[in-house]
Symmetry: C3
Subunit: 347 residues, 3 copies
Amino acid sequence: MFIRNAWYTAAWADEVADKPLARRIMNEPIVLFRGQDGKVGALEDRCCHRGTPLNVGKVTELGLECGYHGLVFDQAGRCVRIPGQDQIPERAKVRHYPVVEKNAFIWIWMGEAARADTSQIIDYPWHDDHAQWPHKHARYDIKGNYMLMVDNLMDLTHLGYVHGSTIGGNPMQHVDAKMKVTRKDNGLHFMRWMLNSVPPPTYIKAAGFKGRIDRWQEFEFMAPSSILQGTGAFDAGSGAYDTGNQDSPFKFRLFHGLTPETETTCFYFWSAANGYRQDDPAATDQLFSEIGKAFLEDKAIVEQQQIGLNERGEAGLVDIATDGARVHMRRVVEQRLAAEARSIAAE
Amino acid sequence: MFIRNAWYTAAWADEVADKPLARRIMNEPIVLFRGQDGKVGALEDRCCHRGTPLNVGKVTELGLECGYHGLVFDQAGRCVRIPGQDQIPERAKVRHYPVVEKNAFIWIWMGEAARADTSQIIDYPWHDDHAQWPHKHARYDIKGNYMLMVDNLMDLTHLGYVHGSTIGGNPMQHVDAKMKVTRKDNGLHFMRWMLNSVPPPTYIKAAGFKGRIDRWQEFEFMAPSSILQGTGAFDAGSGAYDTGNQDSPFKFRLFHGLTPETETTCFYFWSAANGYRQDDPAATDQLFSEIGKAFLEDKAIVEQQQIGLNERGEAGLVDIATDGARVHMRRVVEQRLAAEARSIAAE
Amino acid sequence: MFIRNAWYTAAWADEVADKPLARRIMNEPIVLFRGQDGKVGALEDRCCHRGTPLNVGKVTELGLECGYHGLVFDQAGRCVRIPGQDQIPERAKVRHYPVVEKNAFIWIWMGEAARADTSQIIDYPWHDDHAQWPHKHARYDIKGNYMLMVDNLMDLTHLGYVHGSTIGGNPMQHVDAKMKVTRKDNGLHFMRWMLNSVPPPTYIKAAGFKGRIDRWQEFEFMAPSSILQGTGAFDAGSGAYDTGNQDSPFKFRLFHGLTPETETTCFYFWSAANGYRQDDPAATDQLFSEIGKAFLEDKAIVEQQQIGLNERGEAGLVDIATDGARVHMRRVVEQRLAAEARSIAAE
């Protein structure tokens, strides 16, 4: 069960270059391509003639050409050429999916095309602000349901156990963090402070902290599966927690986009933008590299968790005190799913 | 669904030497072996004692000996020896399949043994005419349903898209070829001419054409899945099309035999025999090598097609103008399947 | 279908050291761990919080700590710590399995914990008698149902076909061996003599036999799947068969424990103890190495047999004269299964 009437990250814009790109989303085989007009299209990855996947074709002047017998399709899925035939029948077409290129992402709408409202697409201007927020991005292919990755980001007490060598360590600091959750209709927001705490290895590498720090993390979850994160740290004793000051000299932003590939696999699109030493490309590289290591630790534990859940699902599992944000996040997603089911039933 | 009362290519004769050969056909595990009397047998690949596959046994004087406890079977599937036991019970036997060795092939009958009529086996005397038609052969293991490979050979417009670097290129020449199809009860025949056309790379390598050519191709499809092909070329302006002359100085023959391994995999037995420079083994080698490359291109596209069809089968696919021969071929096969189903129902 | 109310070899004791050990038994994922108190526990391998396998956690002072959010469990499956939470709810627990460490084994009870009767655990004192019976042990992971390995040990005529280069060879010697089977309620015992027989390669290497031998083998099968074996040889003409003398100068003991992992895979725990040249570690090493080679031959043939049985099960298979012990063994196991089914139905 997936929320279909929603925008998902289908790809990084720079993944869709001169060759077609195969990508399975919600268990549907899709081909993304960039026409010679520069516009990106997303089609069912199956030629309507003999079923050959279109991703093994090539982009020509008219559109995406099938690699078997040469039929050509435009971004709307219409067949615009059949070799050896002048008339193109109405039935010669493939399903197309609405896509929008914005802020370095390709967003895709997996539901009814008629309901695709581009105003619902998340704004992420930081990707375009290369001067103040230089960034790098990546895609991790996760052998786990996409919600397990969202879960992971909603309960940060895992940092103490999973990320000891990178962004975590010191489990009880994380367990005892000050956490303020604000529930929203379509998501949630939380602020988290760890005052007078030991800086993790990654922070020391990036900012050279000598002593303890006041560390903050801000998370915005937007259903179905995007998380916008800001984080940073002051030297301990800053008083920033009391004044709500987040303008720390060391700060960075992370984007997390989870897109279901199948029920048990997903794509993790993430970027890291540094709000410090912006003129030094080494700072961006180092942040990206350190965060990338930490996220591989998340990938490893979530893939193990999926193996565990494959046995008996979530039956009998017990929520604990630190699960507050995670539980609300799940509720939001379930409400969206239920509303979508009702909407389909009513038609 | 497979046509069972028919002869299929089970193996090249030289594949069945001193060791048993495991081969799955129509999803049935079969072991082929050559007895010390030189006769080939095909048995269910499962010892009747404890179920061990017989292909891990060895050929002994009495027949095929199981590698576990030493039971021996002859080509008719009868158990002829049980160590430690004098009497051999009637039930100690395994299914045997009729096989015939002919023209370098081992043909197998997958239906009722009583209906196995050896007069229905295709004649392919070219394999025995080493002076006029020297040949080489191969087996490609295809991850695709066997009919997809037959489809491939019935619509040659794919040469322009799939085989640009070998036997194809110049898509519109293929689309515009003169094509004459003759339908038959148990197959079809077609002649195809591309007059005044650019020779493909393979032809230039083999025959040294300097300019355009008049190129002909003759295909005989015989259900369920054998295709006999002759092809050749004259220098352009030959007039051969008008007179029906196929005796070109450059010509060769191809045999294509497709045998279902499972619903989604098959064996492609093919040979190439050159009718030019017959005294020069390099000509045979070169033709075989070039054709082999082209057939790997077919293998690649058909395996992709199978991946596409695994999603939703052939539902909703659209036939196009160049599909004439392919559609008739499919009809012949479906009629054979339907007749066989009626015949079984009537018993 | 497995006999559940029984003890199985879960592991060699030395496999359970400082790190948790994942082991699937009867298709249930289990984690074995040794607490800092030295006691071994066996738990369902799934944290009751978010389903993460506990085998990726670590052993801490309180017990086994989950690697995701730090919950800790003791050997009884009770959660004894939840980070961020003082009260631990009753529901926070995972299934535990009774285990006993004895004679270098970890035995596990897969049925109802209340019925776990430790007096039923096999005694194998030879593992503790390092002076008279020095031994080495191993675990082979077999891609075959565990009963196929028990079958293998109940019909030794396979030695002639499977083990020609190690402990077998000379098929008819094995077929004609004197075999005395004693049936028991929960197993069977057999003595087997091959008088005046050619010594197999392994025996010559170990004991330097120059001529023919009187070779004996004693097997005790104890349901569900343990086999205790003693074997040895005298120079031919010893008269030992008539007197029942098994105290040959060359003798060794083998333990075989088969534990179902899934319906089609199992663990083969085996040890070899030499009752000759006990002061020479090279004798133990050599015996272990030679036996290990022979058992790899069993592994190979049984894995092929499983592939064969995957096709059509055991339907239509034919028992032969040498199957006596095997057939009785199967009957004992089936009676235990039937009794267990009745016992469950009666509750």
